[in-house]
């Protein structure tokens, strides 16, 4: 009797592991396939077995896509737009969160509420007026439009994540700093900001991922190739090369590689950030 229970338990565990591994396999399989076909030429893609190793690996796909397809330019645009957006988002959000959690003013709850409600707003419901607005101020087809919308729409979630951390910070340090005659600005930059570095890392990562993958705004506001980011650039590029699977694969790999590499090094932080966003909310 006891033995059957032990067998049942082991069978159960085995089954569980099978389920877990199956899910993991399904998550990864498409990406492995992508990696493989990015390194093959069309003939190989169509005629060799599905998961055969590319041999030889056709690195020229990547070179062609970077040079001919101008992916390099899109990559660079994504890079600087993301960086600028993230820096300002985290900075401005830190300012606001500090003011809300530490300073005394009557409207603080209203303002906080305003930011939190912003979380619910579907960005597509703002596209048309924003498009019109940017046309009027001549920011259409200008990267600033993307930077601004990136910041504006990511402020709520950033503030939300920062809020939990700021609320948990002990206040003794600030109090003694003020007693010692420190100005608010100095205190913020030299005391608070360093103390919040863990959550700053988290929010930076979250914002980086969101901004790097941003599509709708770029697609709507940017027309010329010069300012397109990777997300929209892939679209057009693949539109041109619909039959060259190797090139398509290489393009996709190039666009996902930065975030994947980031994940490889910072996976724990990233996971922390994502849960912080959802649970503390």
């Amino acid at each position: 009797m006891k033995r059957t229970i032990i067998y049942a338990k082991k069978a159960g565990m085995f089954l569980f592991y099978m389920v877990l591994f199956a899910v993991a396999g399904l998550q990864i399989l498409p990406l492995i396939w992508l990696l493989f076909f990015s390194l093959k030429n069309n003939h190989e893609v169509f005629n060799t077995p599905l998961f055969s190793l590319p041999s030889p690996p056709r690195w020229e796909n990547y070179v062609k896509v970077w040079v001919e397809g101008d992916i390099g330019r899109y990559f660079f645009n994504s890079l600087w737009i993301t960086t600028v957006s993230v820096v300002f988002t985290v900075l401005l959000a830190s300012f606001v969160t500090f003011a809300i959690t530490r300073m005394n003013w009557k409207l603080k709850h209203v303002v906080l509420g305003l930011f939190m409600v912003g979380l619910m707003i579907p960005i597509h419901s703002t596209l048309i007026p924003l498009f019109n607005f940017f046309m009027k101020v001549k920011l259409i087809d200008h990267p600033m439009s993307i930077v601004l919308t990136n910041i504006g729409f990511n402020l709520p979630i950033t503030i939300m994540i920062l809020l939990g951390f700021y609320n948990a910070l002990p206040r003794e340090l600030e109090e003694s700093a003020i007693m010692d005659g420190c100005s608010v600005h100095r205190m913020f930059f030299q005391v608070i900001l360093p103390m919040t570095s863990p959550v700053i890392v988290t929010t930076t990562i979250i914002n980086m991922i969101y901004n790097w993958n941003e599509f709708v705004f770029v697609n709507t506001f940017i027309n010329s190739d010069e300012y397109k980011t990777l997300t929209v650039g892939i679209q057009n590029f693949i539109g041109q090369y619909t039959t060259d699977w190797g090139a398509i694969g290489a393009t996709l790999m190039i666009s996902v590689l930065p975030v994947l590499i980031l994940f490889f090094f910072l996976s724990n932080k990233i996971m922390e950030g994502i849960t912080a966003g959802a649970i503390k909310g």
Binding site: Y17, V19, L20, A24, Q27, I28, L50, L92, F95, V96, A99, I100, R102, M103, N104, W105, V111, L114, F115, G118, I121, P122, H124, S125, T126, L127, I128, P129, L130, N132, T149, G152, L155, E175, I178, F188, N213, E214, F215, V216, T220, L230, T231, I234, Q235, W245, L252, S255, V256, V259, L260, F263, S267, I270, M271, I274, T275, A278, I279, G281
Partner: protein, 292 residues
């Protein structure tokens, strides 16, 4: 201390930049969308006030209701898939070795842009050379479906990459919530003779009810406003078979240049999202969150 921390100028300095940005880029546009929805406008020329005509037209617009139906289907699927994620998380949060690595693997698709995912799955769904149909033929299936060109299955075909993208996200959240349950409670329950099913259903789930509620709202609202992937994969086609609210709005505004009508759709979407959030919160309201 109090005086320093009440300095109005400092407060203004710290709050205004972010506040201005969100008001100008989010709140004013929302109001403008409502305003434009009362106009007839092609985006370039004159605006003519036509009051609720756009909405009257919307009510009679079959394609609009079709897109709403599709968005709702998506929301329903998403909520059901949450159940699957819960099951996986429950298993994962048990005595499983390597839970950390598994979680990371599950999360990977979430890091990719919707565009990249859409393009990848366009290849996977390719009728002859795609990963899926090649696998199916290998297994002996003869008439492999045309996943994206067949109007009767395209919506479901599009749904799979969406699950693939978000599974890791929800599993991560549920796992963290489950891990937050004090082990003393679990141990007490086991000592009292609870078997794994009872443990999961009667103890763990109620304790993470708050988190489940949050994910339901996220899944529903996320589905209602979903755009990127569908736009890139099918553009709403074939023939509107996979059109959702946001993609229909985009098409009407930026392809047909009917900004007034597009705004009406966009405003309806906003109302829908707010209503859905409110409704779900109301329906799942418990007098008090379970305290432990």
């Amino acid at each position: 201390m109090d005086k320093v921390m009440s300095d109005k100028r400092v407060i203004a300095l710290y709050v205004l930049p972010a506040l201005l940005l969100i008001v100008i880029l989010v709140y004013i546009p929302i109001i403008m969308t409502g305003y434009y929805s009362l106009m007839k406008w092609d985006g370039i020329g004159e605006r003519t006030f036509i009051a609720l005509d756009n909405y009257r037209q919307l009510l009679k617009d079959n394609m609009f209701w079709k897109s709403v139906y599709h968005s709702f289907l998506l929301a329903v699927f998403s909520v059901f898939s949450l159940g699957g994620y819960l099951v996986v998380s429950l298993i994962l949060a048990g005595k499983v070795k390597g839970a950390n690595i598994l979680r990371k693997i599950y999360l990977i698709p979430m890091l990719l842009s919707s565009v990249a995912i859409a393009q990848l799955w366009l290849r996977i769904y390719h009728p002859s050379n795609g990963m899926l149909n090649q696998l199916l033929s290998f297994l002996g299936v003869e008439d492999t479906p045309n996943w994206l060109a067949d109007p009767s299955i395209v919506l479901y075909s599009v749904f799979i990459p969406i699950i693939w993208q978000y599974a890791g996200f929800y599993i991560l959240i549920y796992y963290a919530a489950l891990k937050n349950i004090p082990s003393s409670i679990i141990e007490a329950a086991i000592i009292d003779g609870a078997n794994p099913w009872q443990l999961a259903y009667k103890i763990k789930l109620p304790l993470i009810a708050g988190v489940i509620k949050v994910t339901v709202v996220l899944a529903v609202v996320g589905s209602l406003k979903y755009f990127d992937l569908i736009y890139v994969m099918t553009g709403g086609g074939p023939d509107g078979a996979s059109e959702v609210i946001a993609s229909y709005m985009y098409q009407k505004a930026f392809r047909s240049f009917n900004f007034g009508y597009g705004s009406a759709i966009a405003f309806s979407l906003l109302i829908l999202c707010i209503a859905a959030t409110w409704l779900i919160r109301k329906l799942t309201h418990t007098e008090e969150e379970v305290q432990y």
